[in-house]
């Protein structure tokens, strides 16, 4: 009880501490100088309709690269953690299968639904990251949708074995390609991750905004494969 | 060269006097002790005969080099102690080698003989010898404390450590003696003198039957004779020292004889009338009242 009290007090103190922060900010103060610049010049500079995408992929491209890296690190970590138990859990799985107490088979409904939805989801995912510079969405979102497609597939068929080499390959190649694109920017354009080494194209079109779509494609593939990998690792382990 | 020869003669005379005086004093005191006990006692010259007899022993044994040298050290200590003290104030013959050092030298030279004897006793291999040495040394450190305090008080009083000058300062009447000008120092010093002379109640060092007379238990023949000679000389030296420190010294040999006799008489009477302390008791005794008296004497000089 005492502990609860202390917790409540500590939280109250923290909340009180946050108070001046919240009071300081209001929605009326307008954009910051930086945001103003982005809004005013972003479209011209990069040619992407989605300003957030411009910021994410180009202005703050390094962040995104880092973000990909974070995800990659997490995947590596998850694989490192869960991968080791692979053979053991496999054996266990087989044993439990023999005992008739194995993983529950996906229901008919799920199987059918998954078979039906899978291509649509994949397509949707690809759509999202292809149009990341135009509409809400982007590489990450697309990648997640892709991964959810595979997740659905994995749910429906518990014996499904994904092609790990392919996953790994896709992951590695897309990541390396992203870095290569960044370097191309450094060599051919203004700086590292500068997408403008490709022509900006026509504003609002699919093939526009320089290398941004390429980057988003790579990110989409990478995120998709990574998340799939994570989910798969967790599935096989638990 | 002539000077050295003269000094050598003087030294011999001085030593001759002190040896005979010490021996006779010892014999007399044995008689005094006998009187206290209601006996007649041994002849006055008995110490001479004992020393003669021991030197006339036909055989002897020794346990090793240090055993051999122990009595030599002891006698050297006694002789040296005496020779560093001016025995008679103003006398050329009895000034000895007091020019070599002051009171501190004498105080530390006493250790010389103690150490040598202890080493000789130690090499005998007899367990009782070191037992006696242990007791003796332990007791010695204890009675050194009031004595040191008393000496410091005197040194502070006269601002000198030279025995000659201390004696000189006490000339001119009985009231100039330290015994009267600095009675506390005298009391402390005289109590520690009891310990130094190793009579009762501080005689546990040479407990005759418990640790057959302690350190010299293996000593015999000429070794023993030498120790006995030293006993006479060393006693004389100590008496002369205390006389010089507290009782105005002596301007001629007769005054020295009288004063030292009286001082010795005092220790003998105490010896004859008290039982024995254990070693730890005597240590605590000396570090108690006598030390406090000594401190009081010193503090009085500091004020």
């Amino acid at each position: 009880m005492m502990k609860r009290l202390i917790i409540i007090l500590a939280l109250a103190a923290i909340a009180l501490g946050f108070f001046p922060l919240a009071m300081r900010i209001s929605g009326d103060s307008g954009l910051t100088a930086l945001a103003t610049h982005y809004v005013e010049a972003g479209a011209d500079e990069l040619g992407a309709a989605n300003l957030v995408t411009s910021v994410v992929v180009s202005y703050r491209g390094l962040d995104t690269l880092g973000e990909v890296m974070v995800l990659f690190t997490a995947t590596t970590g998850v694989t490192a953690l869960l991968g080791a138990g692979k053979s053991k859990s496999h054996k266990k799985e087989k044993e439990s299968e023999r005992d008739g107490d194995g993983r529950r088979e996906g229901s008919e409904l799920l199987a059918t639904g998954a078979a039906f939805l899978f291509p649509i989801l994949v397509l949707f995912g690809i759509y999202i990251f292809l149009n990341g510079h135009l509409t809400p969405g982007g590489g990450f979102q697309g990648g997640v949708v892709l991964a959810s497609a595979f997740l659905l597939l994995l749910f429906s068929d518990c014996r499904l074995e994904l092609n790990h080499a392919l996953l790994k390959g896709a992951e590695a190649i897309s990541g390396a390609a992203y870095v290569a694109v960044g370097l191309l920017g450094l060599w051919l354009a203004g700086g590292f991750l500068d997408p403008r080494f490709l022509p900006a194209g026509e504003f609002g079109q699919l093939f526009s905004a320089g290398a941004i779509p390429i980057i988003y494609i790579l990110i989409g593939i990478k995120v998709g494969s990574e998340l799939t990998g994570i989910v798969d690792a967790m599935r096989r382990c638990s | 060269m002539n000077e050295i020869m003269t000094k050598a003669w003087y030294t011999l005379i001085s030593l001759f006097v002190i040896t005979n005086y010490g021996l006779l004093l010892g014999g007399t005191m044995a008689r005094v002790r006998a009187k206290v006990q209601g006996r007649i006692g041994q002849p006055v010259w008995q110490p001479y005969i004992d020393i003669l007899k021991n030197n006339f022993k036909r055989t002897g044994i020794y346990h090793g080099v240090m055993f051999y040298l122990g009595p030599v050290f002891r006698l050297a200590g006694g002789l040296g102690t005496y020779l560093f003290i001016p025995a008679v104030y103003g006398s050329l013959v009895f000034s000895n080698f007091s020019f070599s050092g002051d009171l501190l030298l004498v105080m530390y030279f006493i250790f010389f003989g103690q150490l040598g004897m202890a080493l000789g006793a130690g090499q005998s291999g007899h367990p009782y010898s070191p037992l006696g040495v242990s007791r003796g040394l332990a007791q010695m450190t204890a009675f050194e404390v009031p004595f040191a305090l008393s000496v410091i008080a005197i040194a502070a009083q006269y601002q000198t450590l030279s025995i000659t000058e201390i004696v000189a300062a006490q000339q001119g009447g009985i009231l100039n003696w330290v015994a009267f000008t600095n009675p506390l120092a005298m009391v402390a010093g005289m109590i520690s003198f009891l310990g130094m002379s190793m009579g009762n109640p501080f005689s546990v060092v040479i407990a005759p039957q418990e640790i057959p007379i302690g350190p010299p238990t293996e000593m015999q023949s000429s070794f023993l004779g030498m120790l006995q000679t030293n006993r006479a000389i060393f006693n004389g030296a100590k008496l002369v020292l205390f006389m010089n420190l507290y009782f105005g010294g002596a301007t001629n040999i007769w005054i020295m004889v009288i004063k030292t006799f009286l001082i010795y008489l005092y220790t003998v009477i105490v010896d004859a009338s008290f039982p024995r302390f254990r070693t730890d008791q005597s240590i605590r005794f000396f570090l108690g009242t006598p030390a406090l008296i000594g401190i009081a004497a010193v503090v009085l000089q500091m004020l």
Partner: protein
């Protein structure tokens, strides 16, 4: 100049492609990692070459083709480059560690994670965009999270989850802070934000800034919100812990360092407080630890806390720090951070390689005992971490304390010093547990009564002497990851040497006098090379003797007065005392070099011209002598005490050096020097250190090094003539006005005489011969102190006289005794006896020695007594004189016991075949005897030079009349005394020889009167045990180890504090979270209240 983007791109690409390469060839994958990490070190090095270091040039790299606030930029400057070299170097060594360890943890994923971690930290160091920093922080954090789990134990998962929760909270706080900062300043760029700092000068701004700071602090594991951190260190693989503590934490710290320009006064204070509290409490916690890795973890946390403290204080007191040294605060950060990174990582690796887990069980198990190489590595790493010279932390410590004290920031200075002391204590405790033999009880107790004497060390086969053998050995040892700590050590040593050269020379090479201070370091290096190429030990020692003699010949003639006296003691004394070592067989690695370095550092005390030079030599002396003490068979407890006390003293000196000539300086410096001298109350290290050292080196400690403190007292004597409490200060109460009259000299005098008494008294009851001598030395030093404190001509002469003669007779005694111990294989006196027949020369030495020590005329000792008492009475210190006399009486007791129980009495059966001590041990004895005899015969030979040395300081109170020295009180003619003594000795001797010429039979040892029986065993006939039993009965209450008890109490207070504090760490993840929240909220409310 290579763009940092290539660095990042390279790491990224390598990480991404690694799985593919790994699939092809495992080795290729590993090589890629090593190459890439190597490149991460090489690139910053290239930057360093391209940049202008003097002006701390920085170059900014933009990304995405836009300039800074628009896009993310990276900054490469001298600071970043240096840090990256260090951090990446550490990571590279880590990779090597993993690579050579070849454990199953070293999988492909771990290699990737290592690279991502390095990527993250590189981004952290280079990035100038706050959000970008967040991303990189997350990369490194995630890598760490995953790495923690590499041991695949339940504990590591548990620790990982705790770490992630804490890290999650931290990143949440960081995010909140970042967005608010963005909103308030309109930028995410750090430089812009610093330019617009005034925008943040309000409550919300401070709060947002604080959130970021708090997040960083939490990542750096502040007290008390750091239980999870310690858990991680405990559970993770040591290699990972090394990365956590070194690479990751250093980088995050660098971020904190980067954003400090944003901080206002209040925030800096809060940060400083947090850092300081973390530092001190972590050290307390570590002190109580049993688990090595957790202990190291706490140590890391503490060190980072110290870094934070230093940075915060540096920004607070900017000018004080920047004016002192080049680069100002950055240099400090670099030194401390780099030192910590390499040494701590090295120690973590060591713990991993040798499998050290629990301090408690290490001593019992024989498997983790370190070999010579391991011990050397761990010793160097530990010394570096503890801040001994010449390692970077030493210089940093010096700068920090200098600056803090210059600024008057005493509390921080004392916190840093106390914390460092505790740290040194537990680190070296670990070191000792790792290197000491199982025979060593390792506890800290007074007297060891060894059951049996250990055998001679097994002689190492000299098979590896050929070059091929050396290569093979190095290769063998470098497998299993040894390469990593080795490299770390090499880096630390190299940096240390470089820094030492830099600091000591300070750009001036005005002559060999400056170079001489570096000599100990050169010696250490050179003799280490000797060890590696297997130069025979005897040759090494011989060279050392020649070198110290050469040192003396070259440098001493330039000195005069008191310096010359001590120079002779330090150098000539050492050269002679080294001779017994020639007796040793087999190979003793590091011994000769360490010894010579000690001699040279002692000698350098004479040449130190500035406080830094002095302190450098002093600390060098401390650490080298510690490593010599450690070599003793059962010395670990003693060595630890020695180290802690020496270091405490050194810290006291360090603090004292900056108080000019105020009473405080006198107090602090005095304490430092008195510790070295081992005065009562500060002495409890002394008996153990002197006694438990190898027998042939005890003499060195007792007769040579103990004089260092005295020498410094003489040098700074002017400090101590003032009053302890200035008169103006004590105008108030009666008590104060009473105290104000007390001069330091009075205190020192009493301390000296009480030490003399206590030393003698404690020596009295020791059965262990070396303890007896050790306490005896303590007592003798007490006399020296007393004489020094007299501040009169005679007093100083006596102090110097004692210093010289003590060198001779105590050196002689220790060497003689070491010979006895060497032959009899026991240190307990009552087990010896009757050795006079077997070792006559040694007996004679001891005889001369004890006569000299006890001050019995006619030998030199009496001169000291005479001068002492004369000076004391002249000064009016009567009671001191009386106590000194009592002490000298007691000294006589133990000295007699020493000679009796060993050499006289009954010879034991097992010693019947004992022979005289080896020739090498006899040489110093003979030299000593010759010296003593010469000075006994002609004291004026010694007294007159001493008089001349002291002459400039005091009025003359003594005069000469031929050989007689006259004082105002008395006189002493040493020559005459000698002649008279010889005369009175020879006469009875001749008489005895004549009378007892014949018929005197030498008899056997059992031919004694034994109450008409015969003795049966020498053991039961030898009186030696508890020799002064009556004394113990009478005055035994003085024998109670009050000082020891006091210090035990101090230690146990620290321990209790540690164990109470660690109750905070319940191991419950939720409590940890609660602590984080409480920590944040409390700091926040303090901060907001402060506005």
């Amino acid at each position: 100049m290579v763009s940092p983007l290539y660095l990042i791109a390279m790491l990224l690409g390598a990480a991404f492609l690694h799985p593919l390469i790994q699939n092809r060839s495992k080795l290729a994958g590993q090589l890629v990692v090593l190459v890439v990490l190597g490149a991460t070190v090489a690139i910053p090095l290239q930057w360093l070459m391209a940049l202008d270091i003097a002006t701390m040039q920085t170059v900014v790299f933009q990304t995405a083709g836009f300039t800074a606030p628009l896009s993310i930029n990276l900054q490469v400057g001298v600071e970043e480059s240096l840090f990256l070299v260090i951090i990446n170097g550490g990571a590279l060594f880590s990779a090597l560690y993993f690579f050579r360890r070849r454990t199953r943890e070293w999988e492909g994923s771990v290699q990737i994670l290592l690279m991502t971690l390095v990527l993250g930290v590189n981004g952290l160091v280079l990035g100038r965009d706050l959000f970008n920093l967040f991303v990189f922080m997350e990369i490194s954090s995630l890598s760490l999270y995953a790495l923690v789990a590499t041991t695949k134990t339940a504990n590591s998962y548990e620790a990982g989850i705790k770490l992630m929760v804490a890290g999650g909270i931290a990143s949440a706080l960081f995010l909140i802070g970042v967005v608010f900062l963005y909103r308030m300043t309109g930028t995410l760029n750090l430089d812009d934000m610093i330019a617009n700092k005034q925008l943040l000068d309000n409550k919300a701004g401070i709060t947002a800034l604080f959130l970021i700071t708090a997040s960083l602090l939490i990542e750096l594991k502040p007290f008390p919100a750091n239980g999870w951190g310690a858990d991680v260190y405990q559970a993770a693989d040591p290699g990972v812990s090394a990365l956590t503590s070194g690479t990751s934490a250093t980088a995050i710290f660098f971020v904190l360092y980067k954003i400090t320009p944003l901080f206002g006064f209040e925030l800096l204070q809060v940060v400083a407080a947090s850092g300081g509290i973390t530092f001190i409490f972590s050290q307390l916690l570590a002190y109580k630890q049993d688990s090595v890795r957790r202990m190291l973890g706490y140590s890391s946390i503490g060190q980072i806390g110290l870094l934070i403290l230093v940075v915060a204080l540096g920004s607070l007191y900017g000018e004080a720090f920047t004016t002192t040294m080049f680069g100002g605060i950055f240099l400090l950060v670099l030194l401390l951070g780099g030192n910590h990174l390499f040494s701590k990582a090295g120690l973590f690796w060591m713990s991993g390689i040798t499998g050290q887990h629990s301090l408690g069980t290490m001593r019992q198990s024989k498997t983790v005992r370190l070999g010579p190489v391991g011990a050397a590595l761990q010793g160097i790493l530990t010394s570096a971490l503890a801040g001994f010279p010449p390692f970077p932390a030493f210089w940093a410590k010096w700068i920090v304390i200098t600056a803090l004290l210059a600024f008057g920031s005493y509390w921080w200075a004392s916190i840093i010093l106390i914390g460092s002391l505790i740290e040194a204590a537990y680190l070296f405790k670990w070191f000792l547990n790792a290197v000491k033999s199982p025979v060593d009880p390792g506890t800290v107790h007074d007297e060891v009564i060894p059951e049996d004497f250990p055998e001679e060390p097994v002689k190492e086969p000299m098979a590896g002497a050929s070059p091929a053998g050396i290569v093979a050995r190095i290769a063998r040892q470098s497998s299993g990851g040894w390469i990593a700590p080795f490299m770390a050590t090499a880096v630390l040593v190299a940096c240390g040497m470089l820094l030492a050269t830099m600091f000591i020379l300070r750009g001036r090479i005005s002559g060999y006098r400056d170079m001489v201070l570096l000599l100990p370091l050169a010696v250490l290096v050179l003799w280490t090379v000797f060890d590696v190429i297997r130069v025979p030990f005897k040759l090494q020692i011989g060279l050392a003797i020649i070198c110290s003699a050469g040192y003396g010949l070259v440098f001493l003639p330039g000195l005069d007065g008191i310096r010359l006296v001590f120079g002779l003691i330090f150098i000539a004394g050492s050269a002679v005392q080294m001779v017994p070592l020639l007796n040793r067989r087999g190979h003793h690695r590091g011994l000769a070099g360490m010894l010579l370095a000690l001699v040279f550092s002692l000698g350098n005390l004479l040449f130190a011209s500035s406080a830094l030079e002095f302190f450098f030599s002093w600390e060098l002396m401390t650490i080298t002598s510690f490593f010599l003490v450690v070599r003793g068979r059962q010395a670990s407890g003693a060595a630890l005490r020695y180290l802690v006390f020496s270091l405490g003293g050194a810290f006291s000196i360090l603090a004292g050096l900056f108080f000019g000539s105020s009473p405080l300086a006198a107090l602090l410096l005095g304490i430092g020097f008195l510790v070295k001298m081992g005065t009562l109350g500060l002495h409890i290290w002394l008996p153990g250190a002197y006694a438990e050292t190898d027998d042939d080196m005890s003499t060195f400690f007792s007769s040579v090094t103990s004089k260092a403190g005295l020498f410094m007292l003489f040098l700074l004597a002017g400090l101590f003539v003032q009053e302890a409490i200035p008169a103006g200060f004590a105008a108030g109460t009666r008590l104060e006005s009473l105290l104000s009259g007390i001069a330091f000299t009075d205190l020192l005098g009493w301390l000296g005489v009480v030490t003399a008494f206590a030393g003698a008294f404690l020596a009295l009851f020791k059965e262990d011969i070396k303890y007896t001598l050790a306490y005896s030395s303590m007592g003798q030093v007490g006399y020296m102190l007393l004489s020094f404190a007299l501040m009169s001509q005679l007093g100083w002469m006596n102090s110097l006289y004692l210093a010289v003669t003590h060198l001779m007779f105590k050196g002689m005694l220790f060497v003689a005794i070491s010979g006895v111990v060497y032959r009899t294989k026991t240190r307990l006196m009552y087990q010896m006896g009757g050795l006079i027949t077997r070792m006559p020369i040694t007996f004679f030495t001891v005889l001369i020695g004890i006569i000299a020590v006890s001050g019995v005329p006619p030998l030199t000792g009496f001169g000291a007594k005479w001068m002492l008492y004369t000076a004391l009475i002249e000064k009016g210190w009567y009671l001191q004189a009386a106590l000194a006399m009592f002490a000298s009486g007691i000294a006589f007791l133990y000295l007699f016991r020493l000679i009796h129980v060993i050499f006289l009495g009954q010879l034991k059966d097992e010693h019947r075949t004992v022979t005289e001590a080896p020739i090498w041990m006899l040489i110093p004895q003979v030299v000593g005897i010759a010296g003593i005899m010469l000075y006994s015969m002609y004291p004026s030979l010694l007294l007159k030079p001493l008089e001349a040395a002291v002459a400039p300081f005091f009025e003359t109170t003594i005069s000469w009349d031929g050989y007689t020295v006259l004082s105002t009180l008395g006189y002493w003619n040493g020559t005459a005394v000698m002649y008279v003594t010889m005369g009175v000795f020879l006469v009875p001797l001749l008489w005895l020889l004549i009378v007892q010429r014949k018929n005197t039979q030498k008899v056997g040892q059992f031919n004694i009167v034994y109450a008409a029986e015969r003795p049966y065993r020498p053991e039961t006939t030898h009186f030696g045990y508890n020799f002064f039993a009556p004394y113990e009965k009478a005055l035994g209450f003085l024998h109670k180890p009050l000082a020891t008890r006091f210090w035990y109490r101090v230690v146990s207070v620290a321990e209790v504090a540690g164990s109470m504090v660690r109750k905070l760490y319940t191991g419950n993840i939720q409590t940890y979270a609660l602590w984080i929240v409480i920590y944040t909220s409390i700091l926040l409310s303090i901060l907001q209240r402060g506005m």
